[in-house]
Amino acid sequence: MTHSTRWLGTAGALAAASALVLTGCSAAGDTEPSEDSAGLTPVTLQLQWVAQAQFAGYYAAVDQGFYEDEGLDVTIAEGGADIVPQDVLASGDVDYAISWVPKVLGSIEQGANITNVAQIFERSATTQISFKEAGITSPADLAGKDVGSWGYGNEWELFAGMQQAGVEVGDISLVQQAFDMNAFLAGDIDAAQAMTYNEYAQVLETINPDTGELYQPDDINVIDWNDEGTAMLQDAIWANADMLADDEAYADQTVAFIKASIKGWIYAAENPEDAATIVADAGSALPAGHQLWMTNEASKLIFPSSNGVGLIDEDAWANTVDIAMNTENETGGTIITTDPPETAYSNEYVQQALDELTEEDVDVMGAEWAPIEVTLQEGGE
């Protein structure tokens, strides 16, 4: 990091030079929440990827005015291939960030002082899928197979599941997976990583050359890490730990933000079609059917909720930390080497948000909630 800084500074004749100087001047001290003209507090949320229904609840909360009701003017900042949300948050550029717990645990060990204030996705969406013919029904069957993974922190549930089944990383041939599922469809990968809300649907939107119809769920074996016991906590809302401790206004604002976000997710779960449209209007170019599928699947990760949306389950947290400390990747490394600090998560704010919502007669459990049936079409239309 220091190297690139120095080099950029040296190429200072670039237009960057003036920018850098200005940055140095203004980097500190504008964290105090100030109110805009409508009396709302401006808040920025950093996503971990571009707009898509994986974040439907936040977009719905903006669109439905839930944040406004809580006195917040929320701007959603989309992610990109090289944007690390927890780093953006730790450097103070945004107020909150969405990221996976295992990815953030590594950043926390390297000094990012941030806190998981609401575990929005209770369940993991990561699976390893294979065609029925391959006969891969459990992690033990992965031995000797071509196994796909995106890497960059997406591989840990797979490795943990394999390790639990006694399959070493060396026993499989690990294949780097791309954004698309072509390698899987073409047979280069026997068991491919797939998010239930995205890649799994991509396969089901493709014509099976043997039948001339779309691939069916019956054609595919799914290893679900939730069932294998090696699921790790995924999308959570992260906040700045220092400011939570020192800045009462930020702490209150955090409760308000969580509250409105939960309302957004409840809206998305109950109105998947509308939520999918909201996300499309927010700039996502995914085909409509695929977007609806993603909305529905994201809701499945939340509802029905075991303890109330966002509440961090201590056992699930402990399991994620355990895997992060004890699972080795292909180079023998682990995500973290010591237990994370106590500030790594807190139920204080989400609990308060849930209490307030319950008082307002909002159902934060969704015990009766049932997903809709989404029929996928070729190409996701």
């Binding site: 950029l8 190429a11 990109g80 450097s91 954004f179 493709t206 085909p287 059917g289």
Partner: protein, 291 residues
């Protein structure tokens, strides 16, 4: 150089046609599963998914982007994105060329500056873009004075200029130093100052080096823009479309190709623009030298 225009266009069109024929020929002749030698794929698959027919791509480009009622035809979406990326690339190119020329002048004027700056200019290109892009965006996000606030597209343009300035500074430096020693001596005999020597001798002499450098800079600016768009997730340009359409590679094979043609289009327009510049500088071109 003395070829007439119609003939050059014909040859160019034939080249594109040959490429298209080659593509279709391989799809026709190539094995659907590719050629694998010892577990290594040496020739690509010719399946519909890996190499869709050109007419599939074309047909797909004419269809709407998605099935929703408000969706525009895909070629229109890609064209809009191409224009967006072209605009950012142009800003990046202009900034890059300006900075590159300024650096070259500085280095030509002061030998000390040359030994001080040149190594850093070369080193600057070894910083990986993926490390640079988020940093630039983060620093940019903190800039705000008065009505001006840094926007994400400016980060992308800055990265484009970071790539574009390099060939210009190197090419211009070489060009400015290219006049014969006896020409420079002649100027000195006449007691002509550095500025006038620059204007009358060095700049005209540098054109042959500068034009290829400008063309390289244009290509770099386009690549830089597309990569930086993906890197920081900027919406509106080709880079974003490439990412968003990639997921459809299996189920809608023609779709991911459209933004690729879009970026080719941007590159062609950028190169054509530099071609226009070289028309204006025609009388100074005594034979171009590869940068």
């Amino acid at each position: 150089m003395t070829q007439r225009m119609p003939r050059r266009i014909l040859v160019g069109a034939l080249g594109v046609l040959a490429l298209a024929l080659l593509w279709e020929l391989y799809i026709f002749l190539g094995p659907a599963d590719g050629v694998v030698v010892g577990g290594l794929t040496v020739l690509p698959r010719a399946s519909e998914m890996a190499m869709p027919h050109l007419w599939v791509m074309l047909e797909r480009a004419l269809d709407p982007v998605t099935g929703s009622a408000s969706a525009v035809p895909m070629w229109q979406a890609v064209l809009a994105a191409s224009l967006f990326t072209l605009g950012i690339s142009a800003v990046g190119w202009i900034v890059g060329v300006t900075v590159g020329l300024a650096l070259a002048l500085l280095m030509q004027r002061f030998t000390l500056a040359e030994s001080a700056i040149l190594p850093w200019i070369i080193l600057s290109q070894t910083v990986p873009l993926i490390a640079l892009a988020p940093l630039v965006r983060r620093w940019g996000a903190q800039i705000e004075f008065g009505a001006f606030s840094w926007e994400n597209w400016m980060s992308v343009a800055l990265i484009a200029s970071y790539l574009a300035f390099f060939p210009v500074s190197i090419g211009a430096l070489k060009g400015l130093g290219s006049p014969d020693a006896n020409h420079v001596d002649l100027m000195r005999c006449y007691a002509v100052g550095w500025w006038k020597t620059l204007w009358r001798l060095r700049l005209p002499a540098s054109v042959g080096y500068l034009l290829p450098a400008l063309r390289l800079a244009a290509a770099s600016a386009v690549i830089g823009s597309v990569v930086a768009e993906v890197s920081i997730g900027l919406r509106g340009g080709i880079g974003r479309l490439i990412v968003e359409y990639a997921g459809a590679a299996g189920s809608d094979p023609g779709k991911p190709w459209a933004p690729i043609f879009g970026s080719i289009l941007v590159g062609l327009v950028a190169a054509g623009f530099v071609g226009l510049i070289s028309l204006f500088l025609r009388r100074f071109r005594r034979g171009e030298v590869a940068a």
